[in-house]
């Protein structure tokens, strides 16, 4: 039975690695300027974790095969080098691995969070509420009007609580249920939660950021490929969580210009 167990461990280890090696269920394609840094970090980690995983499981299987149910009279043997060798190896190998992943990982993280958006980045505000995203474009004046929580009304389609009667900046704001952006243009996304925690996740954009009620956050990114992608909520927000989504359309600049005009006309 020990030998069967040893083989099973090794077969499971190999079988577990096959879908990764064969890219059977791959990561969604990357359509962002920063995504390759995350993907490279992921790939490096996969190599290191994959080798650790296979080596450890193989060793476990091999030792179970070799050292179980011995002949009577067999004497125990000690691992060559004892514990000290293994402790030193763990510190050196895993320590180096941790240091390398930690240091190189900073680059990918910094590209998202420590680099401010360009001065000409296009501002868009997104508001998350149970169970929909709404988007706001500042209009020709380039300025968002203030939000008034007490004026939010689903019935009047005033999703952001804008006071277009009194607030000059709000008058030309454009509110949409779908997010459209021009390709190769940096977007500065201003995030506001209406009620509870939500999240903005577009796997292809390599972007995931929670909405925090009471704390307006912002992220920035540039999409590099025209297409239609899904924005999904990843923060459990209530009974309709699974169905909370919107579409992100990455367009050519011309198409975007047409689209934003159409949306302005609909306000």
């Amino acid at each position: 039975m020990a030998k069967l167990f040893a083989v099973t461990i090794i077969v499971i280890a190999i079988a577990s690695a096959i879908p990764i090696v064969m890219h059977i269920w791959p990561m969604p394609q990357d359509i962002s300027t920063h995504g390759h840094l995350i993907d490279e970090q992921y790939s490096d980690t996969m190599w290191e974790a994959g080798i650790s995983f296979l080596a450890s499981q193989f060793l476990l299987g091999f030792f179970i095969w070799k050292f179980s149910d011995p002949e009577p009279g067999t004497k125990i043997k000690n691992f060559p080098g004892g514990a000290a060798g293994l402790v030193i190896a763990a510190f050196l190998l895993v320590g180096t691995e941790c240091l390398a992943l930690g240091v190189f990982g900073v680059k990918a993280w910094a590209s998202v969070y420590f680099t401010p958006p360009a001065a000409d980045a296009m501002p868009i505000q997104v508001q998350a509420g149970q169970f929909a995203f709404y988007f706001r474009y500042p209009g020709p004046d380039g300025t968002f009007g203030p939000l008034h929580a007490d004026q939010i009304s689903q019935a009047n389609a005033n999703f952001f609580g804008l006071d277009t009667t009194h607030d000059q900046d709000s008058k030309d704001d454009i509110v949409t249920a779908e997010m459209a952006i021009p390709v190769n243009r940096e977007i500065h996304l201003l995030m506001h939660a209406e009620d509870v925690g939500h999240s903005f996740y577009v796997p292809e954009l390599r972007v995931q950021q929670d909405f925090v009620p009471g704390l307006d956050l912002s992220i920035h990114f540039t999409a590099t490929k025209i297409g239609k992608y899904e924005i999904v909520c990843t923060q459990l927000c209530g009974l309709g969580h699974y169905n909370m989504k919107a579409y992100l359309e990455v367009m050519s600049q011309e198409d975007y210009d047409k689209w934003i005009k159409q949306q302005a006309a609909l306000q």
Binding site: S16, S56, I76, G82, V94, D195, V212, H241
Partner: protein
Amino acid sequence: MHDTAHAVHGAPTSFIRKHVFSLDHKVIGKQYYALALLAALVGMFLSWLMRIHLGWGSFAIPGLHLLSKSGAPGDVMTPEYYLQLMTMHGTIMVFFVLTTAPFAAFGNFFLPIQVGAEDMPFPHFNMMSFWVTFVGFLVLVTSFFVGDGPTLGGWTQYAPLSAIGSVGGPGEGLGVILWASSIAIFCIGQLLGSLNFITTTLDMRTKGMSLMRLPLSAWAWFITSIMGLTAFAVLMPACILLILDHVAGTSFFVPSNSVINDQVLPHSGGSTLLWQHLFWFFGHPEVYIAIVPGMGIVSHVLITNMRKPMLSHRVLIYSMGALAVLSYMVYGHHMFVSGMNPVSSLAFSFPTLVITIPSTIVVLMWLGSLYGAKLRINAASLFALGFISMFISGGVSGFFLAQPSIDIMLHATYFVVGHFHLVMGVAAMFGIFAGTYFWFPKMVGRMMNETLGKVHFWMSFVGAYCIFMPFHYLGIAGNVRRYQAFTDDYLIPLIPVHKFITIAALFTGFAQLIFLYNLIHSRFWGAIPPNDNPWEGTSLEWSTATPPPHNNFGDKMPVVYHDPYQYSVEGASSDHVMQTSPEQLKSGNDEK
């Protein structure tokens, strides 16, 4: 350290004091085990319901409406009921199974015996700790049957959803209050238990039992109890604050200007991230509260079955200690994309990566110790070896989640679900099973059926991999967790994987029913152990009667002469020398 035999409390005479409100740590240990078993069955049943729903969403599960008319009209689960069952599955499993069984159940039964004590120093606290925990479980289960059912906010109960009351959704009013009350009560039980474990280890050791002579299982419970004392002490007040937000008009976790149904909520000034900080300050040590006892149990079981000690007793103890200390410095990795300061993310990332060093050392100690062993294969050792395999598999995925940049992709996906189920769920369960097959004879005076035990192992081992490895692939493909259905375009192609996982979950669950049958059948009709030491162990539990008498060692308290694992010692009279044996060893396995 005490060195005289004296009864902490007399043997009970009435049925109630003997079996119900018992002061005996062994009875309390069994009560904890029974509670964990009941909780595990409920938790597993809930996971079946969830998995069936995820595989075949429109499938009517016969009789489901009996559990909740509104949650399962026509026996088909509603989206909110899925979330409610999911929340209860996670809460029951983390608190009432993974904390209760390896720590409270086995620790209660065996820690006093392994240190050579008659009982724990505060038996009334000990009895209270179990009954308080039991009440906590009842309060949690009650939420199934009152109001609009249990909370749907997940076992992490993120605010403000958990703090705004019933406007947040079904179960978010009374359901959350019951959840938070249950967990606060549970925390009291664990604090009382931890206090007893710590004092038992420090003050109740018998003559000759120095700290380094404690078995690794005893060390694991000791380290875990220190974590328990500090982690549950934070969660309990957090739960109280959450309850106050519901019933006292406070706003600890709800900020100003939150709007639901076009109404501005009457809260102001609270912090939603405060809950996450408080919760995860408990939550990450909790991972180690669940797994460190398993490490100790598995080491203890393996050593007995390898017929040789660990490569280094001391290194394993230090590694478990390092895991405990570091577990408090890493909790922020749950919050990389939460809106926490991104510099903090890097600060939490580094210790999260570093914690892989003691974890690796533990694994290398196990692997290095297997080298040159005389390994006996039985149900207990199979589960112990399976634990190592699961711990490795679950551990390596931690490399990904420790890095904030990769977490951008994998956070809140099934990758996380696969990771924590393997490393703290399945591995911890395998530790519980290893401990059960190993200690059952000592606990009840009967052997478990080995054949059924091995069938249980094979089905569980293969089944668990079939469930939890695919979770990682789903996560890499961007499959978000906590969805009751997969309606997004990019998730639809992944549904066949979910169906496969559901079948594997039903198969693996069936294996647990075999275990349950074996446990109950063996309890009453199992073979009588050939002697008090059927596995030829060396620690103190094997030098007393089976099952142990009321005060554990009869009239004479044991005296300890050796380190715990004197196996295959050159020149010794047999291949194992008990800790209580006065035999002089020329070259024992004592720590230098």
